[in-house]
Protein backbone atom coordinates (compact mmCIF):
# COMPACT_ATOMS: atom_id res chain seq x y z
CA UNK A 1 0.00 0.00 0.00
CA UNK A 2 1.24 3.47 -0.82
CA UNK A 3 2.16 5.65 2.14
CA UNK A 4 -0.76 7.67 3.51
CA UNK A 5 -1.26 11.16 2.21
CA UNK A 6 -1.02 14.13 4.55
CA UNK A 7 -4.21 16.15 4.95
CA UNK A 8 -4.24 19.93 5.13
CA UNK A 9 -7.02 22.25 6.28
CA UNK A 10 -7.11 25.06 3.74
CA UNK A 11 -10.46 26.79 4.22
CA UNK A 12 -12.95 27.54 6.98
CA UNK A 13 -16.52 28.78 6.98
CA UNK A 14 -19.21 29.19 9.61
CA UNK A 15 -22.75 30.40 10.03
CA UNK A 16 -23.04 31.71 13.57
CA UNK A 17 -24.76 34.59 15.35
CA UNK A 18 -21.46 36.47 14.99
CA UNK A 19 -21.79 36.32 11.20
CA UNK A 20 -20.53 34.37 8.21
CA UNK A 21 -16.88 34.56 9.10
CA UNK A 22 -14.90 31.94 11.02
CA UNK A 23 -12.18 34.30 12.20
CA UNK A 24 -14.67 36.90 13.36
CA UNK A 25 -16.42 34.20 15.39
CA UNK A 26 -13.11 32.99 16.80
CA UNK A 27 -12.14 36.53 17.73
CA UNK A 28 -15.20 36.75 19.91
CA UNK A 29 -14.73 33.30 21.41
CA UNK A 30 -11.21 34.12 22.57
CA UNK A 31 -12.69 37.04 24.47
CA UNK A 32 -15.10 34.68 26.21
CA UNK A 33 -18.15 36.22 24.55
CA UNK A 34 -21.35 34.18 24.57
CA UNK A 35 -23.71 34.22 21.58
CA UNK A 36 -26.50 32.63 23.61
CA UNK A 37 -29.78 34.53 23.97
CA UNK A 38 -33.28 33.69 25.08
CA UNK A 39 -35.25 32.36 22.11
CA UNK A 40 -38.99 31.87 21.75
CA UNK A 41 -41.00 29.98 19.15
CA UNK A 42 -44.50 31.34 19.47
CA UNK A 43 -46.63 28.53 18.09
CA UNK A 44 -49.55 26.48 19.37
CA UNK A 45 -50.29 24.95 21.74
CA UNK A 46 -48.17 27.44 23.70
CA UNK A 47 -44.89 29.26 23.11
CA UNK A 48 -41.63 27.47 23.90
CA UNK A 49 -38.76 29.54 25.30
CA UNK A 50 -35.18 28.47 25.99
CA UNK A 51 -31.70 29.98 25.99
CA UNK A 52 -30.47 29.15 22.49
CA UNK A 53 -28.21 30.03 19.60
CA UNK A 54 -30.33 31.73 16.97
CA UNK A 55 -28.72 33.24 13.86
CA UNK A 56 -31.27 36.04 13.75
CA UNK A 57 -29.45 38.06 11.10
CA UNK A 58 -28.86 35.13 8.74
CA UNK A 59 -30.29 36.02 5.32
CA UNK A 60 -30.18 32.97 3.03
CA UNK A 61 -31.13 34.94 -0.07
CA UNK A 62 -28.16 37.25 0.41
CA UNK A 63 -25.72 34.34 0.59
CA UNK A 64 -27.04 31.66 -1.74
CA UNK A 65 -29.54 33.55 -3.92
CA UNK A 66 -33.30 33.53 -4.03
CA UNK A 67 -33.66 30.49 -6.30
CA UNK A 68 -31.69 28.18 -4.00
CA UNK A 69 -33.11 29.73 -0.86
CA UNK A 70 -36.67 29.05 -1.96
CA UNK A 71 -36.00 25.35 -2.60
CA UNK A 72 -33.97 24.41 0.50
CA UNK A 73 -34.46 23.86 4.21
CA UNK A 74 -32.86 26.37 6.59
CA UNK A 75 -30.23 23.80 7.60
CA UNK A 76 -29.22 23.40 3.95
CA UNK A 77 -29.15 27.16 3.45
CA UNK A 78 -26.72 27.42 6.36
CA UNK A 79 -24.67 24.50 5.05
CA UNK A 80 -24.31 26.07 1.60
CA UNK A 81 -23.43 29.45 3.06
CA UNK A 82 -20.68 27.98 5.27
CA UNK A 83 -19.34 25.96 2.34
CA UNK A 84 -19.29 28.90 -0.07
CA UNK A 85 -17.39 30.88 2.57
CA UNK A 86 -14.90 28.07 3.17
CA UNK A 87 -14.44 27.52 -0.58
CA UNK A 88 -13.62 31.20 -0.98
CA UNK A 89 -11.36 31.10 2.07
CA UNK A 90 -9.43 28.22 0.51
CA UNK A 91 -8.86 30.31 -2.61
CA UNK A 92 -10.82 27.90 -4.79
CA UNK A 93 -12.60 29.01 -7.91
CA UNK A 94 -16.28 28.35 -8.60
CA UNK A 95 -16.12 28.79 -12.35
CA UNK A 96 -14.32 25.52 -13.11
CA UNK A 97 -15.73 22.27 -14.32
CA UNK A 98 -16.65 19.75 -11.65
CA UNK A 99 -13.91 17.45 -10.36
CA UNK A 100 -14.18 13.77 -9.67
CA UNK A 101 -11.42 13.82 -7.08
CA UNK A 102 -13.25 16.40 -4.93
CA UNK A 103 -16.07 15.26 -2.65
CA UNK A 104 -18.27 16.17 0.29
CA UNK A 105 -18.56 14.53 3.70
CA UNK A 106 -21.33 16.11 5.75
CA UNK A 107 -22.83 15.69 9.21
CA UNK A 108 -26.36 16.30 10.39
CA UNK A 109 -28.15 14.87 13.37
CA UNK A 110 -31.59 16.20 12.50
CA UNK A 111 -31.72 16.75 8.76
CA UNK A 112 -34.38 19.10 7.47
CA UNK A 113 -36.42 19.22 10.66
CA UNK A 114 -38.01 22.61 9.95
CA UNK A 115 -39.39 21.39 6.65
CA UNK A 116 -41.02 18.32 8.14
CA UNK A 117 -42.41 20.24 11.09
CA UNK A 118 -43.94 22.84 8.79
CA UNK A 119 -45.53 20.05 6.76
CA UNK A 120 -47.01 18.38 9.84
CA UNK A 121 -48.44 21.69 11.03
CA UNK A 122 -49.99 22.38 7.65
CA UNK A 123 -51.71 19.01 7.67
CA UNK A 124 -52.60 18.40 11.29
CA UNK A 125 -53.08 21.97 12.51
CA UNK A 126 -54.21 23.87 9.44
CA UNK A 127 -56.23 21.06 7.88
CA UNK A 128 -54.44 20.89 4.53
CA UNK A 129 -54.45 17.50 2.88
CA UNK A 130 -51.59 18.08 0.44
CA UNK A 131 -47.92 18.92 0.77
CA UNK A 132 -45.97 20.81 -1.89
CA UNK A 133 -44.10 18.54 -4.33
CA UNK A 134 -40.70 19.73 -3.17
CA UNK A 135 -41.29 18.37 0.36
CA UNK A 136 -39.39 15.16 -0.37
CA UNK A 137 -36.24 16.77 -1.74
CA UNK A 138 -36.42 19.59 0.78
CA UNK A 139 -36.70 17.15 3.64
CA UNK A 140 -34.31 14.35 2.71
CA UNK A 141 -31.52 13.95 5.23
CA UNK A 142 -28.77 14.11 2.62
CA UNK A 143 -30.08 17.34 1.06
CA UNK A 144 -27.17 19.43 2.33
CA UNK A 145 -24.48 17.13 0.92
CA UNK A 146 -26.34 16.90 -2.39
CA UNK A 147 -26.67 20.65 -2.80
CA UNK A 148 -23.05 21.21 -1.78
CA UNK A 149 -21.95 18.66 -4.33
CA UNK A 150 -24.03 20.23 -7.09
CA UNK A 151 -23.11 23.82 -6.32
CA UNK A 152 -19.37 23.21 -5.98
CA UNK A 153 -19.02 20.51 -8.65
CA UNK A 154 -17.85 17.74 -6.32
CA UNK A 155 -17.90 14.44 -8.18
CA UNK A 156 -16.22 12.23 -5.58
CA UNK A 157 -18.24 10.72 -2.72
CA UNK A 158 -21.21 12.66 -1.36
CA UNK A 159 -22.07 11.08 1.96
CA UNK A 160 -23.97 12.21 5.04
CA UNK A 161 -23.07 10.97 8.51
CA UNK A 162 -25.75 10.76 11.18
CA UNK A 163 -24.26 10.18 14.62
CA UNK A 164 -26.18 12.59 16.88
CA UNK A 165 -23.75 15.13 18.36
CA UNK A 166 -20.75 13.42 16.76
CA UNK A 167 -22.16 13.67 13.22
CA UNK A 168 -19.87 16.44 11.98
CA UNK A 169 -16.77 15.08 13.70
CA UNK A 170 -17.44 11.73 12.00
CA UNK A 171 -17.98 13.50 8.68
CA UNK A 172 -14.68 15.37 9.00
CA UNK A 173 -12.90 12.19 10.09
CA UNK A 174 -14.29 10.10 7.26
CA UNK A 175 -13.47 12.84 4.76
CA UNK A 176 -9.92 12.98 6.13
CA UNK A 177 -9.60 9.21 5.66
CA UNK A 178 -10.62 9.42 2.02
CA UNK A 179 -7.82 11.87 1.31
CA UNK A 180 -5.28 10.07 3.46
CA UNK A 181 -6.04 6.81 1.65
CA UNK A 182 -5.75 8.39 -1.77
CA UNK A 183 -9.44 8.13 -2.65
CA UNK A 184 -9.93 11.89 -2.97
CA UNK A 185 -7.77 14.98 -3.24
CA UNK A 186 -10.14 17.47 -1.62
CA UNK A 187 -13.14 17.00 0.63
CA UNK A 188 -15.63 19.63 1.75
CA UNK A 189 -16.40 18.56 5.31
CA UNK A 190 -18.51 19.81 8.18
CA UNK A 191 -22.05 19.84 9.41
CA UNK A 192 -25.26 21.79 9.77
CA UNK A 193 -28.36 21.58 11.92
CA UNK A 194 -31.33 23.69 12.93
CA UNK A 195 -32.70 22.30 16.19
CA UNK A 196 -34.74 25.45 16.78
CA UNK A 197 -37.94 23.75 15.71
CA UNK A 198 -40.83 23.61 18.13
CA UNK A 199 -40.92 19.84 18.62
CA UNK A 200 -37.14 19.54 18.87
CA UNK A 201 -36.98 22.18 21.60
CA UNK A 202 -39.83 20.51 23.46
CA UNK A 203 -38.22 17.09 23.14
CA UNK A 204 -34.92 18.26 24.58
CA UNK A 205 -36.77 20.10 27.32
CA UNK A 206 -38.48 16.84 28.26
CA UNK A 207 -35.08 15.20 28.78
CA UNK A 208 -34.32 17.81 31.48
CA UNK A 209 -30.86 18.51 30.11
CA UNK A 210 -31.47 22.01 28.70
CA UNK A 211 -30.00 25.04 30.49
CA UNK A 212 -32.54 27.36 32.03
CA UNK A 213 -32.47 31.13 31.99
CA UNK A 214 -34.32 34.36 31.38
CA UNK A 215 -33.44 37.24 29.08
CA UNK A 216 -30.79 38.51 31.50
CA UNK A 217 -29.22 35.21 32.48
CA UNK A 218 -29.46 33.37 29.13
CA UNK A 219 -26.00 34.43 27.83
CA UNK A 220 -24.32 32.78 30.84
CA UNK A 221 -26.72 29.83 31.08
CA UNK A 222 -24.40 27.22 29.58
CA UNK A 223 -21.68 26.55 32.15
CA UNK A 224 -19.59 23.46 31.41
CA UNK A 225 -17.58 22.14 34.38
CA UNK A 226 -19.23 24.66 36.75
CA UNK A 227 -20.82 23.35 39.96
CA UNK A 228 -24.03 25.17 39.04
CA UNK A 229 -24.31 23.84 35.47
CA UNK A 230 -27.80 22.85 34.40
CA UNK A 231 -27.44 21.59 30.87
CA UNK A 232 -26.86 22.34 27.23
CA UNK A 233 -28.08 25.10 24.94
CA UNK A 234 -29.47 24.15 21.53
CA UNK A 235 -27.98 26.03 18.63
CA UNK A 236 -28.52 26.41 14.90
CA UNK A 237 -25.69 26.88 12.47
CA UNK A 238 -23.17 25.31 10.15
CA UNK A 239 -19.42 25.00 9.87
CA UNK A 240 -17.13 23.83 7.08
CA UNK A 241 -13.51 22.76 6.79
CA UNK A 242 -11.94 22.28 3.40
CA UNK A 243 -9.61 19.30 3.69
CA UNK A 244 -7.02 18.85 1.01
CA UNK A 245 -4.22 16.48 0.13
CA UNK A 246 -1.06 18.24 1.31
CA UNK A 247 0.86 18.36 -1.96
CA UNK A 248 -2.26 19.34 -3.89
CA UNK A 249 -2.69 22.30 -1.52
CA UNK A 250 0.96 23.28 -1.82
CA UNK A 251 0.94 22.97 -5.61
CA UNK A 252 -1.86 25.48 -5.95
CA UNK A 253 -0.30 27.81 -3.37
CA UNK A 254 -3.05 27.41 -0.78
CA UNK A 255 -2.56 28.66 2.76
CA UNK A 256 -2.39 25.64 5.07
CA UNK A 257 -4.13 26.48 8.32
CA UNK A 258 -3.50 23.19 10.12
CA UNK A 259 -3.03 19.50 9.48
CA UNK A 260 -5.53 16.78 10.32
CA UNK A 261 -3.33 14.06 11.73
CA UNK A 262 -5.71 11.63 13.37
CA UNK A 263 -9.25 10.41 13.75
CA UNK A 264 -10.64 7.92 16.21
CA UNK A 265 -14.16 6.62 16.38
CA UNK A 266 -15.76 3.89 18.44
CA UNK A 267 -18.98 2.92 20.18
CA UNK A 268 -19.56 2.76 23.92
CA UNK A 269 -21.88 -0.19 23.24
CA UNK A 270 -23.33 0.30 26.70
CA UNK A 271 -26.05 2.94 27.09
CA UNK A 272 -28.09 5.28 24.89
CA UNK A 273 -27.42 8.48 26.80
CA UNK A 274 -24.95 7.81 29.61
CA UNK A 275 -21.42 8.58 28.41
CA UNK A 276 -18.83 5.89 28.98
CA UNK A 277 -15.36 6.66 30.29
CA UNK A 278 -13.72 3.71 28.58
CA UNK A 279 -15.32 4.48 25.24
CA UNK A 280 -14.12 8.08 25.40
CA UNK A 281 -10.57 7.08 26.31
CA UNK A 282 -10.57 4.52 23.53
CA UNK A 283 -11.68 7.12 20.94
CA UNK A 284 -8.98 9.58 22.03
CA UNK A 285 -6.33 6.85 21.96
CA UNK A 286 -7.47 5.74 18.51
CA UNK A 287 -7.10 9.29 17.22
CA UNK A 288 -3.63 9.61 18.74
CA UNK A 289 -2.55 6.19 17.45
CA UNK A 290 -3.80 7.16 14.01
CA UNK A 291 -1.66 10.30 14.25
CA UNK A 292 1.38 8.43 15.50
CA UNK A 293 1.27 10.53 18.66
CA UNK A 294 0.97 9.88 22.38
CA UNK A 295 -1.05 11.69 25.08
CA UNK A 296 2.16 13.52 26.02
CA UNK A 297 2.05 15.29 22.65
CA UNK A 298 -1.35 16.92 23.25
CA UNK A 299 -1.27 20.65 24.02
CA UNK A 300 -5.00 21.47 24.03
CA UNK A 301 -8.33 19.69 24.17
CA UNK A 302 -11.53 21.22 22.87
CA UNK A 303 -13.87 19.19 25.06
CA UNK A 304 -17.28 17.88 24.15
CA UNK A 305 -18.35 19.69 27.37
CA UNK A 306 -22.09 20.11 26.95
CA UNK A 307 -22.65 21.29 30.56
CA UNK A 308 -24.71 18.32 31.67
CA UNK A 309 -24.02 17.24 35.23
CA UNK A 310 -22.98 13.72 34.36
CA UNK A 311 -21.41 14.24 30.94
CA UNK A 312 -18.82 16.83 31.99
CA UNK A 313 -17.66 14.84 34.99
CA UNK A 314 -17.20 11.69 32.92
CA UNK A 315 -15.30 13.54 30.20
CA UNK A 316 -12.88 15.08 32.70
CA UNK A 317 -12.45 11.67 34.29
CA UNK A 318 -11.55 10.33 30.83
CA UNK A 319 -9.06 13.15 30.29
CA UNK A 320 -7.45 12.53 33.68
CA UNK A 321 -7.07 8.86 32.83
CA UNK A 322 -5.67 9.58 29.35
CA UNK A 323 -3.13 12.16 30.44
CA UNK A 324 -2.19 10.63 33.80
CA UNK A 325 0.25 12.71 35.83
CA UNK A 326 0.29 15.36 33.15
CA UNK A 327 -3.48 15.99 33.21
CA UNK A 328 -3.32 19.09 35.39
CA UNK A 329 -1.05 20.76 32.81
CA UNK A 330 -3.21 20.08 29.73
CA UNK A 331 -5.33 23.09 28.75
CA UNK A 332 -8.99 22.18 28.24
CA UNK A 333 -12.00 24.27 27.29
CA UNK A 334 -15.62 23.76 26.33
CA UNK A 335 -16.54 26.40 23.79
CA UNK A 336 -20.19 25.29 23.76
CA UNK A 337 -20.44 27.74 26.67
CA UNK A 338 -20.38 30.45 23.98
CA UNK A 339 -21.45 29.00 20.60
CA UNK A 340 -23.94 26.54 22.06
CA UNK A 341 -24.55 22.95 21.06
CA UNK A 342 -25.04 22.78 17.30
CA UNK A 343 -26.03 19.11 17.40
CA UNK A 344 -24.95 17.61 14.07
CA UNK A 345 -22.74 20.65 13.39
CA UNK A 346 -21.14 20.72 16.85
CA UNK A 347 -18.04 18.78 15.85
CA UNK A 348 -17.51 21.10 12.90
CA UNK A 349 -17.75 24.43 14.72
CA UNK A 350 -15.44 23.00 17.38
CA UNK A 351 -13.01 21.71 14.76
CA UNK A 352 -12.95 25.19 13.18
CA UNK A 353 -12.31 26.63 16.64
CA UNK A 354 -9.53 24.11 17.30
CA UNK A 355 -7.82 24.83 13.97
CA UNK A 356 -7.86 28.57 14.65
CA UNK A 357 -6.67 28.02 18.22
CA UNK A 358 -3.54 26.36 16.83
CA UNK A 359 -3.15 28.79 13.94
CA UNK A 360 -3.50 31.89 16.09
CA UNK A 361 -1.86 30.50 19.22
CA UNK A 362 -4.88 31.43 21.29
CA UNK A 363 -6.70 28.71 23.21
CA UNK A 364 -10.29 29.87 23.82
CA UNK A 365 -11.78 29.66 27.30
CA UNK A 366 -14.76 27.97 28.85
CA UNK A 367 -16.94 31.00 29.49
CA UNK A 368 -18.56 31.74 32.87
CA UNK A 369 -16.24 29.32 34.66
CA UNK A 370 -15.83 31.27 37.89
CA UNK A 371 -15.91 28.08 39.97
CA UNK A 372 -15.07 24.49 39.11
CA UNK A 373 -17.07 21.45 40.13
CA UNK A 374 -14.79 19.21 42.23
CA UNK A 375 -15.87 16.35 39.94
CA UNK A 376 -14.39 18.27 37.00
CA UNK A 377 -11.04 19.17 38.55
CA UNK A 378 -7.71 17.74 37.54
CA UNK A 379 -7.17 19.35 34.11
CA UNK A 380 -6.02 22.88 33.27
CA UNK A 381 -9.33 24.66 32.67
CA UNK A 382 -9.01 27.80 30.56
CA UNK A 383 -11.10 30.53 32.19
CA UNK A 384 -11.83 34.16 31.49
CA UNK A 385 -10.24 34.83 28.12
CA UNK A 386 -7.94 32.93 25.80
CA UNK A 387 -4.71 31.32 26.88
CA UNK A 388 -2.11 32.82 24.55
CA UNK A 389 1.50 32.14 23.79
CA UNK A 390 1.54 28.44 24.69
CA UNK A 391 2.80 27.51 21.22
CA UNK A 392 0.36 24.60 21.22
CA UNK A 393 1.25 22.16 18.43
CA UNK A 394 -1.29 19.37 18.78
CA UNK A 395 -4.95 19.55 19.76
CA UNK A 396 -7.83 17.14 20.13
CA UNK A 397 -11.47 17.96 19.39
CA UNK A 398 -13.83 15.62 21.25
CA UNK A 399 -17.36 14.65 20.22
CA UNK A 400 -19.16 12.15 22.44
CA UNK A 401 -22.72 11.61 21.28
CA UNK A 402 -25.96 10.10 22.44
CA UNK A 403 -26.13 6.54 21.28
CA UNK A 404 -22.57 6.01 22.49
CA UNK A 405 -20.99 7.31 19.25
CA UNK A 406 -17.54 8.75 19.91
CA UNK A 407 -15.48 10.68 17.37
CA UNK A 408 -12.22 12.44 18.12
CA UNK A 409 -10.15 14.52 15.70
CA UNK A 410 -6.47 15.31 16.13
CA UNK A 411 -5.01 18.44 14.56
CA UNK A 412 -1.43 19.66 14.30
CA UNK A 413 -0.35 23.24 13.83
CA UNK A 414 0.79 23.91 10.29
CA UNK A 415 4.56 24.10 10.04
CA UNK A 416 5.80 27.50 8.85
CA UNK A 417 6.35 27.55 5.09
Amino acid sequence: MASPHRVAVTGLGVVAPSGIDARQMFGRLVDGESFIRLHTIDQPPRPVTQPAIHCADFSPEAHIGKALASTTDRSVQMALTACFEAWLDAGLSRDKEGRHDYGVSWGSALGSTSTWERGYREMWQNGRDRLPPLAVVLGMSNAAASHISIQLGLGNSSLTYVAACASAAAAIGEGYKRIRNGEARLMVTGGSDVPLAYAVMKAWDALRVVAQGDADTAPASCRPFHPGRSGLVLGEGAATLILEEWEHARARGATILAEVVGYGTCSDHSHLVRPDRDGQIRAMRLALDDAGLTPDDVDYVNAHGTATVEGDAIEVDSLRALFGDRAAQVPVSATKSMHGHLMGAAGAIEAVTTVLALAEDALPPTAHLDAIDPACEGVRHITGSALRGTDARVALSNSFAFGGCNAVLAFRKAAPA
Binding site: S70, R130, P133
Partner: protein
Protein backbone atom coordinates in the same frame (compact mmCIF):
# COMPACT_ATOMS: atom_id res chain seq x y z
CA UNK B 1 -55.89 35.63 -12.75
CA UNK B 2 -55.21 33.75 -16.01
CA UNK B 3 -52.93 30.73 -16.19
CA UNK B 4 -50.10 32.52 -17.99
CA UNK B 5 -49.99 35.07 -15.16
CA UNK B 6 -49.96 32.32 -12.52
CA UNK B 7 -47.03 30.65 -14.27
CA UNK B 8 -45.24 33.92 -14.85
CA UNK B 9 -45.53 35.00 -11.22
CA UNK B 10 -44.25 31.64 -10.00
CA UNK B 11 -41.26 31.63 -12.34
CA UNK B 12 -40.33 35.26 -11.72
CA UNK B 13 -40.36 34.59 -7.99
CA UNK B 14 -38.44 31.33 -8.26
CA UNK B 15 -35.95 32.03 -11.01
CA UNK B 16 -35.63 35.79 -10.63
CA UNK B 17 -35.92 36.28 -14.36
CA UNK B 18 -37.36 39.09 -16.43
CA UNK B 19 -41.15 38.48 -16.72
CA UNK B 20 -40.93 39.54 -20.36
CA UNK B 21 -39.04 36.29 -21.08
CA UNK B 22 -42.03 34.22 -20.05
CA UNK B 23 -44.01 34.25 -23.28
CA UNK B 24 -46.14 31.45 -24.84
CA UNK B 25 -43.42 30.60 -27.35
CA UNK B 26 -40.66 30.33 -24.69
CA UNK B 27 -39.55 26.71 -24.31
CA UNK B 28 -39.30 25.02 -20.93
CA UNK B 29 -35.71 24.19 -21.73
CA UNK B 30 -34.64 27.77 -22.33
CA UNK B 31 -36.35 28.83 -19.10
CA UNK B 32 -34.55 25.96 -17.32
CA UNK B 33 -37.79 24.38 -16.14
CA UNK B 34 -36.90 20.79 -15.27
CA UNK B 35 -39.30 17.95 -14.46
CA UNK B 36 -39.28 18.83 -10.76
CA UNK B 37 -40.18 22.44 -11.40
CA UNK B 38 -42.89 21.36 -13.82
CA UNK B 39 -44.50 19.36 -11.00
CA UNK B 40 -44.25 22.44 -8.83
CA UNK B 41 -45.87 24.58 -11.52
CA UNK B 42 -48.75 22.13 -11.84
CA UNK B 43 -49.20 22.15 -8.06
CA UNK B 44 -49.19 25.94 -8.06
CA UNK B 45 -51.93 26.03 -10.70
CA UNK B 46 -53.98 23.43 -8.81
CA UNK B 47 -53.71 25.54 -5.66
CA UNK B 48 -54.71 28.74 -7.47
CA UNK B 49 -57.74 27.11 -9.09
CA UNK B 50 -58.52 24.98 -6.02
CA UNK B 51 -58.66 21.75 -8.01
CA UNK B 52 -56.66 18.54 -8.31
CA UNK B 53 -55.90 17.33 -11.82
CA UNK B 54 -56.98 13.76 -12.50
CA UNK B 55 -54.38 13.17 -15.20
CA UNK B 56 -50.62 13.62 -15.37
CA UNK B 57 -49.49 16.58 -17.39
CA UNK B 58 -47.63 15.36 -20.49
CA UNK B 59 -44.39 17.13 -21.30
CA UNK B 60 -45.19 20.47 -22.90
CA UNK B 61 -42.64 22.00 -25.24
CA UNK B 62 -43.32 25.59 -24.41
CA UNK B 63 -45.23 27.85 -22.03
CA UNK B 64 -48.15 28.23 -24.45
CA UNK B 65 -48.64 24.46 -24.53
CA UNK B 66 -48.43 24.28 -20.76
CA UNK B 67 -51.09 26.99 -20.42
CA UNK B 68 -53.40 25.10 -22.81
CA UNK B 69 -52.97 21.83 -20.90
CA UNK B 70 -53.57 23.47 -17.54
CA UNK B 71 -56.67 25.30 -18.79
CA UNK B 72 -58.04 22.07 -20.24
CA UNK B 73 -57.38 20.18 -17.01
CA UNK B 74 -58.92 22.93 -14.88
CA UNK B 75 -62.15 22.70 -16.88
CA UNK B 76 -62.14 18.92 -16.49
CA UNK B 77 -61.46 19.13 -12.77
CA UNK B 78 -64.13 21.76 -12.19
CA UNK B 79 -66.68 19.64 -14.05
CA UNK B 80 -65.71 16.61 -11.97
CA UNK B 81 -66.21 18.64 -8.79
CA UNK B 82 -69.67 19.76 -9.86
CA UNK B 83 -70.73 16.27 -10.86
Amino acid sequence: MDTLTVIREFLVDRLEIDPARIQPEATLEELQIDSLMLVELIFECEEKYNVVFERDVRSPKNIGELVSIVDEFVVEAQKAKQA
